[in-house]
């Protein structure tokens, strides 16, 4: 049986504001779900609920049938769901290698020195950060910091990754290179992923399915091709962009 990450009717209110209003989703291991929607539609909140960073007001999150929505975030990671931060949060005082080592040690629970070293080396090679392994994390470029977030999430050994705008703020060439890396790594490791993204081209090229949020509700779900043609989506989100697109 393939592993599944599943959210059921998740509601999240902050005071009087309803950020998520009954969102459900399901991702199986090996599949990539794109999560798109206008600003403030609840994408990041949903990732925070899935990762255990915040607790839903109601609704549940399951990993392989086990409820994880009441678990503290660090246990969700150990259970197999890791998140990257929209604004990278590297451990500044550590080298790139040490950053990834922390994830392999605590997230994946590797204890033996040699195994940790092998795993860290493998992850750094996968995300092409190996040449920068012994540089302090504070000295990295934005693109490299995003790679480091990705590398740390991988090193936790998670079966599901929640990736918050890992392509945002990059130049077009960097986006292309990062998409390339993501697809290769995903194909090789076969993790499941929920990818929140503003860069449309990136979502459409990495996601197998796409879920569209608007004001905390899901308004469409389907393959990237279906979703971009959905009139509700075009109106809510792609409006201007689709109108301008030379189709």
């Amino acid at each position: 049986m393939t592993a599944r990450l599943k959210a059921e009717a998740v509601v999240k209110r902050f005071g009087g504001v309803t950020a998520l209003d009954g969102v459900s989703l399901e991702v199986s291991q090996g599949a990539v779900l794109g999560l798109i929607g206008p600003n403030g539609s609840g994408k990041t909140t949903l990732l925070n609920v899935l990762s255990g960073t915040i607790r839903p007001t109601s609704g549940h999150v399951f990993l392989d049938g086990e409820r994880i929505d009441r678990m503290p975030a660090y246990r969700v990671v150990r259970a197999g769901v890791a998140k990257t931060h929209q604004i990278p949060k590297p451990f500044h005082g550590m080298t790139v290698r040490e950053n990834v080592t922390a994830a392999a040690t605590f997230g994946a629970g590797l204890r033996e020195g040699a195994r940790v070293r092998d795993e860290v080396g493998r992850v750094l090679r996968l995300v092409e950060l190996e040449p920068r392994a012994d540089v302090p994390a504070s000295a990295l470029t934005v693109q490299e910091k995003k790679r480091l977030e990705f590398a740390r999430a991988l090193a936790t050994g998670a079966r599901f990754l929640l990736l918050d705008e890992i392509f945002a703020g990059l130049s077009p060439e960097e986006v292309r290179a990062s998409i390339e890396v993501f697809r290769r790594v995903q194909a090789e490791l076969g993790f499941g992923a929920v990818v929140v993204e503003h860069v449309m081209r990136a979502v459409l090229s990495v996601a197998h399915r796409v879920l569209v949020l608007e004001e905390g509700r899901s308004i469409a779900e389907g393959t990237p091709q279906e979703v971009v043609r959905d009139p509700a989506v075009v109106e809510a989100y792609l409006g201007q962009e689709a109108a301008r697109a030379p189709t």
């Binding site: 990762s51 931060h85 451990f91 005082g93 080592t101 922390a102 994946a108 204890r111 090193a155």
Partner: protein, 334 residues
């Protein structure tokens, strides 16, 4: 029998050959800073029998301060959580010993142990609540515990109301000296231990970015609480030696000034480092016991100014600044 005999012989041979080299390897793996501190501690320990009383007094007070510095270093230095309430643990330890020796007639060494447990338990209780708060909120919450403690102790009849507890146990300066020496040595060993390996890695992660630390699977609440409890325990034990040394515990054992001194020592010396608290204790406590005795009112001003100057111009304290500008020293000074 011959087989057993030859096995035993080989075993002894092996031990004889490897024991010195194992010890040597262990010593080398401590690193220069721990070796240096170890030598200083060994000298202090060895001097015990031949010290004149005046020096005993000086060194006991110095080691009490150093023990406090290492204790607050465990939480504030290692995690960045600024604890203004550390005096609560020290004061509680002081009263635990005073109460134990007067009400139950226990040996003062048992009092020190009880004081350590009291400090640790109190830190557990306070920590469970306050460590959920971050940054300034944690600092304020701990400040409140310090202010509240004075009133609670002053209003408790069993603790002598506001007039404190006095006791006289005779001349025990040597025992006091080795008690605080043992505490200090244990703290230094503990500090060395938590900066290494798995815990050390988790701590550095926690200090850099707590959210990211959670996101890579570190049990952040437990790690913080673990350090806070150890920290409270040692602060309490050191506080009890102070009280034992003074033969009395008064509510002013809860004076905020003690918390500020503890913070001053690690800010000046270098937060979260192995040698910083020691250096801070030398800078804060030695002048206090010598030069600054001439102007008692001036002490807080001089120390306060020093803290402000260091916080402004030398973040990282004395150890931090040496490590920054003399890269060669990094290997030798942790």
């Amino acid at each position: 029998m011959r087989i057993i005999g030859s096995v035993w012989f080989r075993f002894r041979e092996m031990r004889l050959r490897t024991l010195p080299s194992t010890l040597w390897k262990g010593w080398r793996s401590l690193g220069p800073t721990a070796q240096g501190l170890g030598i200083v501690l060994a000298v202090l320990g060895g001097l015990g029998p031949v010290l004149p009383v005046a020096l005993f007094v000086f060194l006991i007070l110095f080691m009490i301060y150093a023990a406090w510095a290492y204790s607050i270093n465990l939480i504030t230095g290692m995690t960045g959580y600024v604890s203004f309430g550390h005096v609560v643990f020290a004061g509680a330890g002081a009263y635990a010993l005073a109460y134990g020796v007067t009400a139950w007639g226990i040996h003062p060494l048992a009092g020190v142990v009880a004081a350590g447990l009291t400090g640790a338990l109190l830190a557990l209780g306070v920590g469970v609540v306050t460590l959920r708060l971050r940054g300034a909120y944690f600092a304020i919450a701990t400040l409140v515990t310090a202010l509240a403690a004075v009133y609670i102790v002053s209003g408790t009849p069993a603790l002598g109301d506001g007039s404190g507890i006095r006791f006289y146990l005779g001349f025990q300066i040597g025992t006091q000296y080795y008690a605080i020496w043992t505490l200090l040595a244990s703290e230094i060993a503990l500090t060395w231990w938590v900066t290494r390996g798995r815990i050390g890695l988790g701590l550095r992660a926690l200090r850099d970015d707590e959210d990211a630390a959670r996101a890579v699977g570190i049990n952040v609440p437990r790690l913080k609480l673990f350090l806070y409890v150890l920290s409270g325990g040692f602060a309490g034990a050191a506080g009890s030696v102070f009280t034992w040394f003074n033969s009395s515990a008064f509510p002013d054992a809860f004076q905020l000034a003690y918390s500020l001194d503890m913070l001053a020592m690690i800010i000046i010396g270098g937060m979260g480092t192995l040698s910083g608290p020691w250096i801070g204790a030398v800078v804060v406590n030695v002048p206090r016991q010598t030069l600054l005795k001439l102007l008692p009112q001036g002490q807080p001003i001089v120390i306060g100014l020093l803290v402000i100057l260091i916080a402004l111009f030398l973040p990282g304290g004395i150890v931090g600044i040496i490590r920054k500008y003399i890269p060669e020293a990094r290997r030798y000074l942790e």
